[in-house]
Amino acid sequence: MTAKGVSGGDVWNRILFYAGILLFVLVSVLPLLWVFKMSIISKGELQASPPTILPQDPTLESYAAIFADAGFLRSLLNSAVIAGVTTVVCLVLGSVAAYAIARLRFRFKSAFMTLILAIAFFPPVAIIGPLFSQFSEIGIVNTYASMIIPDVVFALPLTVWLLVAFFRELPFDLEEAAKVDGATTLQAFWKVIVPLSAPGVFTTAILTFIFAWNEFIFANTFSFDDSTRPVTVSIPSFAGVFTVNYGAQAAAAVVVTIPLVILVLIFQRRIVSGLTAGAVKG
């Protein structure tokens, strides 16, 4: 910004700029605040028409209700397990593959990358039918495996992409040094590269976890009851036979999202650099 002295136009520009930013931030955060409000008001106030702006009858009954619901608690556990295992599997498979792409030379590299990228474009719904038949035959429908497997497939492009970018940042002579000392390629990978790219791996893990946590379509198809249903499926169907509990839905939404939001806020720098590193370096 050149120093022109404080002219009227400049001040005006500044005001508009900050106003715009403020507006943007508000819009981003308001819906969350509104849902939070819905989660702390009573059933009666929830049904008020027109809806109240500020809570008039604050209560924690919605939260009490969902935490007393064994099904909901179980769904939190299910989500954690599914997302966790998916992340681990993706990291194992993806880091190995990403290393090969980033640091080794071989033909068919670009064909392989294209194949992986193609998955990122894949409509999941296109494979639901046959996948369902296959899983039924194997007998894993309504188990964790039935959701972990498709999640892994669809998270792998993200994982590989990010790790390729991270691995590329490391200096190349590391492998040479390792080889001189007698390591195999694989040993070089495990014992040198992986520890050094720990921050990148960590970021990738977070993003993969979030991706798997938010997955819906496979979870909705393959989970039948409380024992396997993750939160993304249980929240929309927070209903009895004839009643929909708006308060419970709101409370559940808050409970499910708060950890994610906190995670994102704490690691935002890493997340941003991870996402953008992948994008820019391609």
């Binding site: 910004m1 900050y18 930013i21 943007f24 931030v25 955060v29 819906p31 969350l32 509104w34 849902v35 049904q47 028409s49 702006i53 498979l93 993806g94 593959a97 090969a100 792409i101 980033a102 080794l104 030379r105 071989f106 990358m113 992986i116 193609a118 998955i119 990122a120 474009f121 894949f122 409509p123 719904v125 296109a126 494979i127 639901i128 039918g129 046959p130 369902f132 038949s133 498709p150 892994v152 497939v153 390629t185 990978f189 979030i210 938010n214 819906f216 929240i235 929309p236 839905q249 709101a250 999202t257 994610l260 994102v264 806020l265 935002q268 953008t276 590193a277 994008a279 820019v280 391609g282």
Partner: protein
Amino acid sequence: MATRAGTPEKEGGGLGRVFREEFRNRERRTAYYMILPTLLVILGVAFYPIAVSLINSFRLSLPGQPGGEWAGLQNYVYLFRDSPFQAAFINTVVFTVVSVALEFVIGLAVALAINRAFKARGLVRAAILVPWAFPIVVSAVMWRLMYQDQVGIINYIVTALGLIDQPILTDNVTVMIGAIVSDVWKTTPFMALLLLAGLQTIPGDVYEAAKVDGASRVQQFFRITLPLLGPSILVALLFRTLDSWRVYDLFWAMSDKQLESLSTYTYKAVRDSQLLFPVGNAAAVVTFLTAFLIAIFFIKVLGMKTSTEA
């Protein structure tokens, strides 16, 4: 032990020789072993089922029933004539085009704004990541609660302002608008971040030089920023376009299954209906092919790079 395969293959040697050359090299062999698990998982879990869908789309069969009589293109004919499918297709196109356009414009504006140093920039960046963290389904349920005609705050405000005369969720057009708003809210941050990263790779002195030459802000934007940002824009657009094209969670939860997209139509036909299963497979193939074509378009026609050099 050789560590480089330097021998170029001869013409007419064919793929077999190429493979043999590759595997003779230790480093390369290791590399193939390393990518093998990922490759197997992807081929087995994604590409094999799509092949099955393809075959099923040419047959008449019920779910769980193997085989089935050959039907040629019958299912596709039925599909393209089916008015819910046509509606679903149009909905998907409209949703994709409008959402992505809005996300791009707003995202770019936000990226440009954040690119300038100002106070509380970190806070702003954190705040805009909040929508991104939500599961789509949760976000959709939230917005639906806000659009609901009895207890929804947005419906109330919009009706009070006289902008609409019937509740948001009753008219497919307003439901679509509501879905677009929800999607824009959720993914503009992501778009902004991608563009911001691209912006930050543009060296500042390019702008300095332009300013010295007397270029206005607008000119700077169009002559410098946009072209240099080109690759990032294409990547961002491609991902967002394909994400929107596959929309399922949002429509399912927001419109309570009333608004159809390509994916919801396919899902309904393959899972909820018994008899439309063959048609559903055709729809799955169509969904896949169109997504594929869009990707090809971006890569070939728009010249997007998918570089992989080490």
